[in-house]
Symmetry: C2
Subunit: 151 residues, 2 copies
């Protein structure tokens, strides 16, 4: 897919080691974004942006995403107050992924079920060989009902 | 897509907060994986696994991926020696992303162009308003020619 906003067409060497930003969107027009805490470096969530969401994020220094399930733009924190102030943006060698280093406003949490990070469970092998998740190893920062109401 | 190896079919609450591992693969059968250094927490790369690659990763504690460009399995480090020993695996609330905390063997680098992390460039706005990348802000750990040969 050719992006309508960003440059494209660089050769492999230019994309991998050059200074031209040419984000590579997938066939659905999306790029994967890893959101980390700018101080602890903890991975908080993974989201997806299309070119317009990426442009809004760069222009406003607040994270915008494209919701694959709702098929709409969403500014993270629009409802919850958990705005992600963007402190740094990085891309990888083949420019098909983005890392955002953010400072989270409001209650400081990221996950909609109440935890600081969406990655609050480990994947482990149990004694009988099955693969399961551990109980959350961090406490809830907030009760989702207080932020999103009863569901 | 229904995974052939892992459980599926849990309701929203079970998936988001329960202890059953039900990874959600996309319509191409893939799940996004964020690889971080198990000590510094730095994001090293983003890769993709299908269910078999994820199973191999869990079974062997070494990271296996599905290459979207080559359409084949690849064990990270098979050529370069940069094996990723998996210290911890996490999944997120909706179980459609994975975080691997790894220890990198060999020369300790991850990126195929020679850097410790694939995210060696920042995305910045220049003075004239264009969006560009910065020069790498980390030194090369190795010369790719020494590992992969001349290309």
């Amino acid at each position: 897919m050719t992006s309508s906003i960003f440059a494209s067409g660089g050769d492999k060497s230019e994309i991998e080691t050059g200074l031209s930003f040419q984000p590579k969107f997938d066939k659905d027009g999306l790029i994967a974004v890893v959101i980390t805490d700018h101080i602890s470096a903890e991975v908080l969530m993974v989201g997806y942006m299309n070119d317009e969401a990426l442009k809004r994020t760069i222009d406003t220094c607040e994270a915008w995403y494209w919701s694959r399930s709702r098929q709409e733009y969403w500014k993270k924190g629009g409802t919850s107050g958990q705005i992600q102030k963007v402190m740094e943006i990085r891309t990888d060698c083949d420019q098909d992924a983005i890392v955002l280093k953010v400072s989270v406003e409001g209650n400081g949490a990221t996950c909609h079920v109440g935890y600081n990070s969406c990655f609050f469970r480990k994947v482990v092998k149990t004694e009988d060989g099955t693969i399961a998740l551990t109980s959350p190893d961090q406490g809830r920062v907030y009760d989702p009902k207080d932020v999103y109401g009863e569901k």
